[in-house]
């Protein structure tokens, strides 16, 4: 790919560089082979099959992980049902809550070890797994723990009951955090769980299973089974499941929604996005540039709510673009375990190929592509931070979710124009607004058809804050009071 010449306002030709600052990984405890976590025990899969989970930064195998087939799924669902009937639904709610508090505490204690494993297995910078993924996961358990014995205050006029067994399928971009988002509200509301982590990032969910054992969580309350799409399909189609919670692509979400047609299973879907990040002329530009960088390059852009479409008001476009390129030139791509790393490894070879092919399509369609000149390691899966200009609303780079560090930049003149452009997508997960004018924030935020709006900030998450999409970005909310609703029976 040809790199465009750009006149930098900052000099990067000095010899200053960061010395390596790797997080030491000598204290982590990983097994060479992981079994399925069913009914409180690690059991051999009836398939007898295992797959490798690899470190995307080194392409080296970390461990073997069991591949659950339909018989294993059935075993897990039966364990969850039995735990629901005999233990979990009978237990006083306050006691359920105490288990969740206990899990949150153990997660805090083991945060460092789990952060390292998260970065090794998934490729995300240790700075993010250490400061965000793991603390937030613990906070989620802590938040929902407190709801367990207060459910009668959550939904006015209603007596609430749990649904039963929840089948939960989670993606590879925030492996432990997504497990916490799914498991914590389900358990607080009194359900039991069968959870499948993504096949490229199963390790922290399996570490979480060890924490459940350590917390003496009754057997079967949470079952964690590993595998790929076929395992997920077996969960979705299992008649013993009362509720499906899925986070992943819109394409798979639609398949699941269709598969659930004609059943009584409830479902929530947290699907793809193509968020507009809008910067107005009256924004604090340097802050906005930080927000744009965080919006798209956080977690290598493997974020469903990534601010992957930047809309810049025309009169500040040149300035913003120059500052953005300067800032991107300073980003460090490399070893996820290095504390200075800004952008880690792309999660898998498959995802890297997908990013490459979408970028290629963007160039073929006439988009202008610019990439950081940063060095990347020779081994592993890497992708340089990438910008696209001269793209149209119809360009694939603007319409398709890339799930990588690729930002499409467009300009606009009026508020009405940018609202129309921002909403011109089947997605509706999130959006960003940068302006110093409060009334403009309220006008634009109320008109963006998206579930999470970040104004003068981006990519912030909290257990108390509901998250989820409009339109084809899914349905239902996770987090906060609204995140309890998918796990209760009103009727």
């Amino acid at each position: 790919m040809k790199k465009q010449s750009v006149a930098p306002s900052l000099k990067f030709d000095t010899k200053w560089s960061y010395a390596p600052a790797p997080e030491s990984a000598d204290h982590i405890q990983l097994k060479s082979q992981y079994e399925l976590f069913i009914n409180g025990k690690f059991v051999v899969p009836s398939s007898g099959k295992y797959f490798d989970t690899i470190n995307p930064a080194t392409e080296k195998k970390i461990a073997l992980v069991a591949d659950a087939n339909a018989a294993d799924v059935d075993k897990a669902v039966k364990a969850a049902r039995s735990a629901y009937d005999k233990t979990w639904s009978k237990m006083p709610a306050a006691e359920r809550g105490k288990y969740l508090f206990r899990i949150a505490r153990i997660l805090q204690e083991k945060a460092r070890e789990i952060a390292i494993i998260e970065s090794i297995d998934g490729g995300k910078p240790i700075r993010e797994s250490r400061d965000m993924d793991i603390p937030l996961a613990a906070a989620h358990f802590f938040y929902y723990a407190g709801w367990a014995d207060k459910m009668e205050y959550a939904f006015p006029g209603r007596t609430v009951k749990p649904l039963g067994v929840a089948g939960q399928i989670i993606p590879w971009n925030f492996p432990l955090l997504m497990a916490a988002w799914k498991i914590a509200p389900a358990l607080a509301a009194g359900n039991t769980v069968v959870l499948k982590p993504a096949e490229t990032t199963p390790l922290t969910a399996l570490k979480l299973a060890e924490i459940f054992q350590e917390a003496d969580l009754p057997p079967g309350v949470v079952n964690i089974i590993t595998g790929a799409g076929a395992t997920g399909a077996a969960i979705v189609n299992h008649p013993g499941i009362d509720k499906i919670a899925f986070t992943g692509s819109t394409d798979v979400g639609k398949i699941i929604q269709k598969a659930l047609a004609g059943t009584d299973k409830k479902y929530t879907l947290e699907l793809g996005g193509k968020a507009a990040n809008i910067i107005f002329e009256d924004a604090a530009i340097d802050q906005a540039v930080e927000g744009i960088v965080n919006g798209i390059f956080f977690n290598q852009g493997h974020v469903c709510c990534a601010g992957s479409r930047l809309f810049v008001q025309e009169n500040i476009a040149d300035l913003v673009l120059r500052k953005l390129k300067d800032r991107i030139e300073t980003l460090i791509v490399g070893d996820p375990l290095d504390k200075n790393t800004d952008i880690g490894a792309i999660n898998s070879k498959e995802q890297l190929n997908k990013i490459k092919s979408l970028v290629k399509a963007g160039i073929n369609e006439g988009g202008e592509c610019w990439q950081s000149s940063c060095a990347v390691p020779s081994k592993g899966y890497w992708y340089r931070p990438t910008l696209f200009t001269k793209v149209a609303q119809s360009s694939s780079i603007v319409q398709k979710e890339i799930f990588g560090p690729v930002l499409a930049i467009q300009t606009f003149r009026t508020v009405e124009e940018v609202i129309e452009k921002a909403n011109n997508t089947p997605f509706g997960l999130s959006g960003g607004i940068w302006t110093d004018k409060g009334s403009k924030i309220f006008k634009v935020s109320s008109k963006l058809r998206a579930g999470v709006i970040w104004a003068n900030t981006y990519n912030k998450f909290d257990p108390t804050s509901p998250f989820g999409g409009y339109k084809e970005s899914g349905m239902g909310r996770e987090g906060g009071l609204h995140g309890l609703q998918p796990y209760i029976d009103f009727n």
Binding site: A139, P156, G157, R158, T250, G253, K254, I255, Q257, K258, L260, A261, G262, L269, L271, P426, I441, S445, S446, K447, R449, A450, G451, V452, I453, W454, A455, N456, T457, K460, D462, T464, S465, P466, F467, G468, Y470, K471, E472, S473, G474, M475, R477, G480, L481, H482, F490, N491
Partner: protein
């Protein structure tokens, strides 16, 4: 119709208003043409198709428009055109408009009772249903400026941000009116949808097109903007696929589909992640009916300078 008119005239005559000679003259009644209600207008179906509607004695009362898929598309275009304007109206204004529909309906109670009787209701049941329908409109009018309060939260996030979540309308909703409860069935499905700022297209029950179109006249005489509620009549079964597969529809509401039709709706809904909402699981009077066609929006803003 003829006998009824005579009865009315006889009653009126008792008050001394009507001239006596009219009573004895055999009169040709003026029959009403029933059309669709789209975008605040009463067009015929573009398809030119009709179905005769019979009364309990087997006499044809009216030729009902058998709406087509194209009529549905026109209706959705009209829904989309006005949805934002409708949702941005103040809660107070929306409440007053729904209340106004109740007022207008109250004034036409006798007409609705007559038509229900004509469609097979006993007069006592007809009266009860019309009363209950009016009261239900008043009930939902009252929710307009309250459901947002009870379903919203300010979220105490750990970081220095102000964070709040509140419901917004899902957008465009197609409604398959139930085949029972001619008037109450319409209002119990339409009122919670539109009070929440959505616009909708209702496919009337096969048996009760008259009530649906008479209700459209009530809407027309209220202050409801055209296109907020569109009403199609015809063969509901024909619309189960169309109403659930339209790509610019955000939700579909139903309550009495048989399992195979329900499955069709749910399968089609997956085309654009449509919300398929079964109202049979919610009581008729419930803010959770409103909530089921709402999306929760969460907004973050830093606190500090």
């Amino acid at each position: 119709m003829e006998t009824k008119i005579k009865k009315t005239l006889a009653a009126s005559n008792g008050n001394g208003i009507t001239k006596p000679h009219i009573e004895t003259v055999s009169r040709i009644d003026v029959r009403k043409t029933y059309k669709l209600y789209i975008d605040g207008k009463f067009p015929r179906t573009e398809s030119g198709r009709f179905s005769p509607l019979k009364d309990m004695q087997g006499n044809t009362i009216a030729n009902i428009c058998r709406a087509s898929r194209k009529d549905l598309r026109d209706a959705i275009v009209s829904n989309r055109k006005v949805q934002e304007d409708w949702s941005k109206r103040s809660a107070y204004n929306k409440a007053q408009i729904i209340y106004r529909i109740a007022e207008t309906l109250e004034g036409r109670k006798a007409q609705f009772i007559d038509v229900l009787v004509q469609q097979g209701y006993t007069s006592a049941i007809a009266k009860n249903e019309v009363n209950a329908s009016i009261d239900l409109l008043v009930y939902y009018a009252g929710w307009s400026d309250k459901y947002i309060q009870i379903f919203s939260t300010v979220n105490p996030v750990e970081s220095a941000h102000f964070n709040f979540s509140y419901p917004e309308p899902t957008g465009i909703v197609t409604i398959l009116a139930p085949q029972a409860d001619a008037l109450l069935g319409i209002i119990s499905h339409v009122a919670p949808v539109i009070i929440g700022g959505n616009t909708c297209t209702l496919v009337a029950a096969d048996k009760f097109p008259l009530t649906a179109i008479d209700f459209a006249e009530v809407l027309h005489a209220s202050d409801l903007p055209g296109g907020v509620i569109n009403i199609l009549t015809g063969n509901r079964k024909e619309f189960i696929g169309h109403a659930s597969s339209h790509m610019d529809v955000n939700a579909i509401v139903f309550s009495d589909l048989d399992p195979s039709d329900k499955k069709i709706v749910q399968v089609n809904s997956a085309l654009n992640v449509k919300r398929a909402v079964d109202y049979s699981k919610e009581p008729v009077m419930s803010p959770y009916r409103i909530l089921s066609c709402q999306e929760i929006k969460t907004t973050w803003h830093p606190m500090g300078i």
